[in-house]
Symmetry: C2
Subunit: 234 residues, 2 copies
């Protein structure tokens, strides 16, 4: 039976074997929610970048520059890290280079896996269906917040496990803990996510609307996949 | 208001500020359960050691040599890592040097804190009372398993938080997640801990009795504290 496991923060990714696995990268508030929204709304490709300076280099080559540092948009960039910016007509057919505090780094740290896809509540069902039709093992890589596990990414990991557990053998306690967190809160996901440190941080910046949108389930039916360093729709 | 936070595995301890804090080190299966049992049963002091070779050096100086590697007793040592070995009459008044896969390292990694104490279900109430009478901030350092968060240490962190949350401000999502795990399972702590990876591992070595004992609450009314590199009773 194939396996499913969870890494609660990408700072612990070295503890997991990546080779041969499908890695689902998760950064609910807000990088993977933005990536899913952008690709579902016509962005051609999204290139995850570790450092802000590298985004500027791609900007010179025609990429839209996107990203934040500590939750705040980088001033000279075209876009920050709000999913609503990724619904704009202006970005259709364009390529975006994105650097965020946690999410884009988590994607880069997943290199070495058989394949890397991107998950969020916005495309939860599509990701679950994709995983259920695979043959290989699955690792959910939660970005966390600056190396520390966070509630909303763990909650999403639990939601995915809930859909996959009958078909896959769960490996490790992080899977059990994430699943328990989801099961205990599945009737009010927004309520619990709204108590997270990151939610408090974003609310202090006046970004309640972003929180609510990022917790919307199955808004989009796509699975972004990393191909040659760029996320595209499967 | 003073604060309480949780580090879900000592591999993430660098993410937390130690200075000025009381750190509670937790390794339920089985190092901190052994330490509490030993000191409650008359051991004079327990010296946490990182490497097995260093234990042998202390053995030459008259310390009892204790510890395991990967759950198995080191062959030439006097004791392994079972709490029942720490109840023996033969160890009364002796000093013990201990090296374990996770627990003794978590104690050593907590150096730099204002003080380091040791918690387990066996002395849960005493630790909670000690923390409630403090004035400073608290960090619960869960040892985890080889750098990965584990269920039983997180569960104990949640139990402590449950006793302290009214008097302390919780900081970070790991606190919320640990507390939720405890609240969802407080009526059957042994049942959930028994599903953990570490419990499965110990059962495969025939150590069910150890598991059950380690999950016993408030068997001992002591708080081990690190003084000059050795754990003693407060």
């Amino acid at each position: 039976m194939r396996t499913i496991e969870v890494c609660l923060t990408s700072d612990l990714i070295h503890q997991h074997e990546l080779q041969g696995k499908t890695v689902v990268v998760v950064d609910i508030f807000r990088a993977t929610s933005c990536i899913v929204t952008g690709l579902a709304n016509g962005v051609e490709a999204i290139c995850p970048i570790e450092e802000v300076e590298e985004v500027k280099e791609l900007g010179k080559k025609g990429y839209l520059m996107a990203g934040e540092q500590g939750g705040i948009k980088v001033p000279e960039f075209d876009m920050g890290n709000s999913p609503f910016e990724y619904q704009s007509e202006n970005i259709k057919g364009k390529k975006v280079a994105i650097s965020t505090t946690n999410g884009s780094r988590a994607i880069i740290k997943s290199e070495g896996a058989h394949e890397i896809i991107v998950g969020a509540f916005l495309n939860r069902k599509s990701v679950a269906e994709y995983l259920l039709h695979l043959k290989g093992d699955v690792l959910i890589n939660c970005a966390g917040w600056k190396g520390i596990p966070n509630l909303e990414d763990t909650l999403f990991a639990g939601a995915l496990i809930d859909e996959c557990a009958e078909e896959m053998k769960t490996v490790g306690d992080s899977v059990l803990m994430a699943h328990q967190l989801y099961v205990s809160n599945h009737e009010n996901l927004y309520g619990i996510a709204n108590k997270s440190s990151h939610a408090e941080r974003l609310k202090s910046f006046g970004m309640e609307r972003d929180l609510e949108f990022c917790m919307t389930e199955n808004e989009y039916q796509i699975v972004p996949r990393l191909v040659d360093g760029e996320l595209i729709i499967q």
